[in-house]
């Protein structure tokens, strides 16, 4: 157990950070080069005003017509994304680890809040899973990889909840929790999780094209 713990909190953690950062730079660069080669018109049409206008509308809950037509999805997706980011950064156990390893610290969430936010993330993942299985227009676009990505995202939260509440086998579960977080980090550059970095560019381009060429709203 001790050697597993040392490995996952030592070398594997560094590998995960490096793969995440370098992989993201590589992915971004390769997409940039591909756009330059295959679709350089993107750079011509990109317009800061139209891009920011579109991004702002899509970042505001119910700021687009699509969000108004799908209220359940809108609520789920906003709560999901907020909790997905806030919980791991501000949960007290993680704040403590930053303090121990890098001597930096910040605000920590009350335990109860972290629990509720964890539930929101897991619940939203179940909702997204249901959509992918049940709704024909979502099912049509779903590949097996989408289910794997959902699992990759939900796993750190399920294992973290298990470890925190010390359900049976929580010692091994803590190690699985660490590994699952590292898998998620490493998956970001190579899967559609990369939309966390691409979102401003894809949305910005659509906004630019709709605003500058079609003279229409894209929200």
């Amino acid at each position: 157990m001790h050697s597993y713990y040392s490995f996952v909190t030592g070398p594997l953690a560094w590998i995960a950070f490096i793969v995440f950062i370098c992989g993201s730079i590589w992915r971004f660069n390769s997409l940039w080069q591909l756009t330059k080669k295959k679709d350089s018109a993107v750079f011509e049409y990109m317009d800061r005003k139209f891009a920011l206008r579109s991004i702002a509308h899509w970042l505001i809950p119910f700021g687009s017509r699509s969000m108004q037509l799908n209220p359940a999805m809108t609520v789920a997706t906003f709560l999901f994304h907020i909790c997905l980011f806030i919980t791991p950064i501000f949960v007290f156990g993680h704040v403590m680890l930053w303090k121990e390893n890098f001597n930096i610290s910040w605000f920590a969430l009350p335990n109860m809040a972290a629990d509720v936010m964890t539930f929101i993330v897991i619940g939203s993942c179940i909702f997204f899973l249901w959509r992918r299985i049940k709704l024909p227009h979502v099912k049509y676009l779903t590949t097996p990889l989408d289910f794997i990505i959902l699992m990759i995202v939900a796993a750190p939260f399920m294992t973290g909840f298990w470890a925190y509440h010390q359900f049976p086998g929580f010692v091994s579960m803590t190690i699985i929790h660490i590994v699952s977080g590292e898998i998620m980090l490493m998956a970001i550059p190579f899967t559609k999780l990369f939309h966390m970095f691409l979102f401003p560019f894809t949305r910005g381009y659509i906004g630019s094209e709709f605003g500058g060429v079609r003279m229409a709203k894209d929200w």
Partner: protein, 145 residues
């Protein structure tokens, strides 16, 4: 619930027996608590994000770990920050050196939670447990519910 109360009543426990049970339980709990050492408990108040209290049984731990010298944990450093081999510091409390800067941590200030100190003793315990390949390392192994 009523059935449970009735069955307890039917046991016909006399006042003396009940007092004896309560006294035994109280004694058991307090003697257990006496074995627990807190690390500078005065700097840490329980708040909404602290973990459960850790019962560190000093003598039992040292016996189990085969520790003979106190300075393995109660270390001592000179003015240059160099470890003084063989000199122990069990006459001091951890916070005399590792109090950290409670005032600088605004978000923790209201709760007086000194995470500088907590980080220090977490590392002291865990690093040794990893080196020795025995003893608790993950959060819940010490902070038992």
């Amino acid at each position: 619930m009523n059935r449970f109360i009735n069955s307890v009543m039917n046991m016909n426990i006399s006042g003396i027996t009940l007092t004896a049970i309560i006294l035994t339980l109280t004694f058991a709990i307090t003697t257990h608590a006496d074995d627990c050492f807190t690390v500078n408990g005065e700097t840490i108040d329980a708040n909404s994000n602290t973990r459960p209290f850790v019962c560190f049984q000093h003598d039992a731990h040292n016996e189990k770990a085969g520790l003979e010298s106190c300075d393995r944990c109660h270390h001592s450093y000179d003015d240059q920050g160099k470890l003084i081999e063989g000199e122990s510091s069990e006459d001091k409390s951890c916070s005399e050196c590792h109090a950290g800067n409670v005032g600088s941590q605004k978000s923790f200030d209201s709760n007086r939670l000194n995470i500088d100190l907590a980080a220090k003793y977490h590392k002291l315990c865990r690093d040794c447990h990893i080196t020795e390949k025995k003893g608790p390392v993950v959060c819940g192994e010490c902070h038992k519910r």
